[in-house]
């Protein structure tokens, strides 16, 4: 009976997703091929149900499930909402990926839901085992999604992703084994309590650094960042959108929780993470300058953005956590907007080369406006949420002490470099060129266009009136 109570209190959205995965798999074996469009709607229904059930789970007081391995509070609820809403939008973008392989439509959606399931459990994980299992669920599902595209490039990208993922996982587990050896437990709260009495040793710091660098893989941050360009270029764009958002957001949620509880005693870890994030910002932003492919450029950009967030996340405080939350929310919408624009371009037979963007401002003014808003948001120009989120993030870093000021200055200088490539993308759309035919983007990708407009709108609204969202983020951060 306790088992079912646990489920009812804490796991409802996950159970709903699981149910819909089974439905999809069963339907894939029974339904005729021509009903392939049904898969998308079932997936959407599943995500919608899960979102609705999120309101039913217990968060106050904090609910633990399955012998403290699973936790449910305002923090996890917030992240589940963000993840589900983001994946709800992303499902609309998968249209092209599915139409090219109709026979696998149901499998694709089932795997997509599995990845979401992994992300949802990861957010709620309260010990290293749950965390590892959910991380791998998310990871394995991502392998299939990445390899879904027929081109050889996607296979190559997937292989690269799998290899580096394996190394990262090994490093992560290595760190966890040390922690287990030191404390005799894998539960976050128990590890936290254990070190209240015992002074953490250097071994503890080593272990936490190993764990954190294992997590850096999914964030696309430096020790395991070199997969990001090829994977973003090779895989189907809707899958890339998924990979650039869902694992990242889920990973930041669990990393922040770890830094607040189990890994909160090590200054070496904080310092390492700060150095890592500054190095990543340097690496990604200089690499991006020479890119001529929009997807590779966005890969660098997503890596750089993860670095900014990691900087604030590693300096643990309630205020910093709230800035991380706000940055992630802002980033999710800007990133989906940018990628939906890339998808629109792909669907209208443009390649991903930047020089093909010429003339857009004159043939598709509204598309250009919205795309520019999202890109300028990523660059951090005002009237977008990108500006507010960067401002808020830096204000948090400044508060954490003047020790980190030199690092912050280096990171800000790399942002100057990032302005260069973001503005180049926008500028190219306003360039006039005689060579490129001025083709109007067809309306067959209406859902992607609606999503682009929606994301641009949200970006602007959150840039002008961010108060309410920031207040929400602060409330969530206070309740961790």
């Amino acid at each position: 009976m306790e088992f079912f109570n646990n489920i009812l209190n804490t796991m409802l959205p996950e159970i709903a997703i699981l149910l819909f995965i089974f439905i999809l798999i069963i339907l894939s074996m029974t339904l005729d091929l021509k009903h392939y469009k049904l898969a998308k709607w079932i997936t959407l229904l599943g995500i919608f149900t899960a979102t609705a059930l999120c309101t039913k789970i217990q968060v106050e007081p904090i609910a633990y499930g399955f012998k403290d391995t699973f936790i449910s509070d305002y923090y996890t609820l917030f992240f589940k909402f963000v993840l589900l809403i983001a994946s709800f939008i992303i499902v609309f973008l998968t249209k092209k990926a599915i139409t090219s392989r109709r026979d696998n439509a149901f499998q694709f959606n089932a795997i997509l839901l599995t990845a979401i399931l992994g992300a949802l459990i990861l957010v709620s994980a309260n010990d290293f085992l749950t965390m590892f299992i959910s991380m791998e669920t998310l990871g394995f599902a991502t392998f299939f999604l990445l390899a879904f595209d027929k081109g050889y490039k996607s296979k190559e990208a997937t292989f690269k992703y799998i290899l580096i993922s394996a190394v990262a996982t090994a490093v992560f587990l290595f760190g966890v084994s040390y922690i287990y050896g030191l404390t005799g437990t894998v539960n976050f709260s128990k590890i936290y309590e254990y070190f209240l009495d015992v002074d953490p040793t250097l071994l503890y710091s080593m272990a936490t650094i190993f764990i954190a660098s294992g997590l850096c893989f999914k964030l696309g941050v430096i020790p395991f960042a070199n997969w990001i360009l090829d994977v973003y270029e090779g895989a189907d764009t809707s899958v890339v959108t998924f990979v650039s958002i869902i694992p990242k957001v889920a990973m930041f949620s669990i990393l922040s929780r770890l830094l607040v509880f189990a890994m909160s005693y090590s200054f070496e870890l904080t310092f390492t993470l700060v150095v890592i994030s500054v190095m990543t910002a340097l690496w990604a932003n200089t690499l991006a300058i020479r890119q001529t492919n929009i997807k590779r450029l966005l890969a660098c950009s997503s890596s750089a953005n993860a670095a900014y967030v990691l900087f604030a996340a590693s300096l643990v405080s309630v205020f910093n956590l709230s800035t991380v939350l706000f940055y992630l929310v802002a980033y999710v919408f800007m990133n989906i907007g940018v990628f939906s624009a890339v998808i629109i371009l792909e669907n209208s037979q443009f390649s991903n080369r930047l020089y093909e963007f010429k003339n857009f401002a004159y043939t598709n003014p509204i598309f250009t406006l919205c795309f520019s808003i999202c890109i300028l948001g990523l660059a951090g120009f005002p009237i977008t949420s990108g500006f507010v989120s960067k401002l808020y993030l830096f204000s948090a870093i400044i508060r954490s002490g003047l020790v980190f000021l030199p690092f912050l200055i280096i990171m800000m200088l790399t942002i100057v470099a990032s302005v260069f490539y973001y503005l180049t993308v926008v500028r190219l759309m306003f360039d006039k060129s005689d060579k490129v035919e001025s083709e109007v983007i067809p309306h067959k990708t209406s859902s992607a266009i609606v999503i682009l407009y929606f994301c641009a709108l949200i970006t602007v609204i959150m840039g002008i009136f961010p108060s309410k969202v920031i207040e929400l983020c602060q409330f969530i951060a206070y309740n961790v």
Partner: protein, 506 residues
């Protein structure tokens, strides 16, 4: 007086920039241009109304307004408000901005041949951003508009400019962004230390103004230096000035006018607002270094201006030199030179706009800006030559013209400055006064070689200035003469404010 709202002042150009895209204008270039000119003219009259009802002696901020959204401010959790207001200095800058934008739009007729809708809407967006900078009453709002101004400027230089315009525009953006990040750091530090000391988060100028002097001096100096880096890029101060000649040379004429007349003033305005008004103690510490840098700015760029072969570059470098005089006046800590510096900001705004207009007119007709290829143009363009004489003489500081008043007040004030006890400021002033000779050298050379040496064969058929060009130049010349004769009209508006700032600096 209720119809005077600072929000209308700032955001009406934004509305206009949106209106241009409505179907009413289609692609009718004439209609767009006429609408823009009319609108900018009305906007200028509206700003003049603020002047009429402005009381310079009033304490605090006039026309204060705040934007709220469902009862909460801009970023409520950080205590930031979208607050705007005007004081004497801001009012003068607002009027200058509005006037220059109006003139630039008139001048656009012969310069802008393509993408009209986009151009005019960007100019209005730029106007909103610049007005926002001048009217902001919150550090972060100031910073937001400061950044916002980059995007329209980037496109204005890059899309309508000459050969290397795109890279010049990028250079402009990167330099300014580089500087503004340091400024952001300074703002954040100030914001944080105010919170750490008083437990209240705010970005409001007036609150920080009162309490910033109580912070530790080392911190104040650090913040002050961070601000200075940001403003030095815009001013520009010598090691960070290299974006300016490129941006000016490649920008189309109207954009050059706005860039020189308004955007450079943002740097000086920022120094007054942040460094002098908010961190007076730190400014006193930095004054010796700043005076030297201002001297270098004045003399070094004057020499460079003399050695240029491109008309527009001469004017661009003379701009830097004249902004050096502004900085020199600000650092002398003397009411006379301070007022002179503010006056110099206005006079340089008008004169440089006029000079860029002249260069632009010549360039459109001859397709060259090389001084060596021109000559004797006065014979074919007598009216242009006449205006050029007024503008050049104003730039070199001929009495009874606007340029003279500013420079004279700056140098007179700095010569009598109380800093004499600790610094050889009399010597500095003597060196700085050399600019009067140097500027005569490069300006009269420019005037002579362009308008009065031998007329080349190929320039015999040049047409004299057209009606809209005549309008722009005559408005500028009129202002230069009138305020050269009656400078106190302008100085009286700011003097109470400047006296207040100086009291803290002594």
């Amino acid at each position: 007086m209720n119809f005077l709202s600072v929000l209308v002042l700032i955001f009406s150009p934004l509305v206009a920039s949106g209106l241009i895209f409505t179907s009413f204008f289609k692609n009718n270039e004439v209609r767009i241009r006429r609408f823009s000119k009319t609108f900018a003219g009305l906007h200028f009259l509206y700003t003049l109304m603020f002047l009429v009802f402005f009381n310079p002696q009033a304490e605090g901020i006039s026309y204060y307004k705040e934007i709220t959204f469902f009862g909460s401010g801009w970023i409520e959790p950080l205590g930031l408000k979208l607050a705007f207001g005007l004081d004497g200095l801001a009012l003068l800058m607002v009027i200058l901005t509005s006037l220059i934008v109006f003139l630039a739009l008139i001048a656009s007729k012969s310069n802008i041949k393509q993408k009209h809708k986009f151009y005019y809407s960007l100019i209005f967006l730029l106007q909103t951003a610049v007005l926002g900078v001048f009217c902001a009453r919150d550090m972060f709002v100031f910073f937001m508009f400061w950044e916002l101004e980059l995007i329209p400027m980037y496109f204005l230089i890059g899309q309508w400019g000459d050969a290397k315009a795109k890279s010049s525009a990028m250079k402009f953006v990167l330099y300014t962004f580089f500087g503004s990040l340091f400024m952001l750091l300074g703002i954040l530090l100030l914001h944080f230390y105010y919170f750490a000391t008083y437990g209240v988060m705010t970005g409001d100028f007036s609150s920080i103004l009162v309490s910033a002097p109580e912070f530790p001096l080392a911190l104040q100096v650090l913040i002050s230096i961070l601000f200075l880096i940001g403003f030095a890029v815009k001013l520009p101060l010598v090691p960070l000035h290299t974006w300016l000649p490129d941006a000016h040379v490649d920008a189309p004429t109207p954009v050059s006018m706005i860039l020189a007349a308004v955007l450079l003033k943002m740097g000086a305005f920022g120094i007054i607002r942040f460094n002098m008004q908010m961190l007076p103690d730190a400014f006193k510490v930095l004054v010796p270094a700043l005076l030297i840098m201002a001297l270098i700015n004045i003399i070094y760029t004057a020499f460079i201006a003399y050695s240029q072969t491109d008309l527009k570059r001469v004017v661009a470098y003379s701009s830097i030199s004249h902004m050096g005089i502004v900085l020199f006046g600000l650092c002398s800590l003397n009411l006379m030179s301070f007022s002179g510096a503010v006056f110099q900001m206005l006079s340089h705004g008008l004169i440089s706009a006029g000079l860029f207009m002249v260069v632009g007119i010549i360039y459109i007709r001859t397709k060259t800006r090389q001084i060596s290829e021109l000559g004797g143009l006065a014979a074919v363009m007598p009216r242009l030559a006449g205006f050029s004489i007024i503008l050049t003489l104003a730039a070199v500081g001929l009495p009874l013209l606007m340029g003279f008043v500013g420079e004279f007040m700056v140098f007179l004030g700095s010569f009598n400055s109380a800093l004499d006890d600790i610094l050889p400021i009399k010597l500095y002033t003597l060196i700085a006064v050399l600019i009067l000779v140097l500027s005569v050298c490069y300006m009269l050379r420019l005037l002579h070689e362009t308008f009065y040496s031998n007329l080349l064969e190929k320039w015999h058929n040049l047409k004299d200035i057209m009606m809209h060009e005549f309008t722009v130049l005559s408005i500028i010349s009129f202002c230069i003469v009138v305020f050269g004769v009656f400078p106190m009209f302008i100085i009286n508006i700011v003097q109470p404010l400047l006296t207040g700032i100086l009291e803290f600096l002594r």
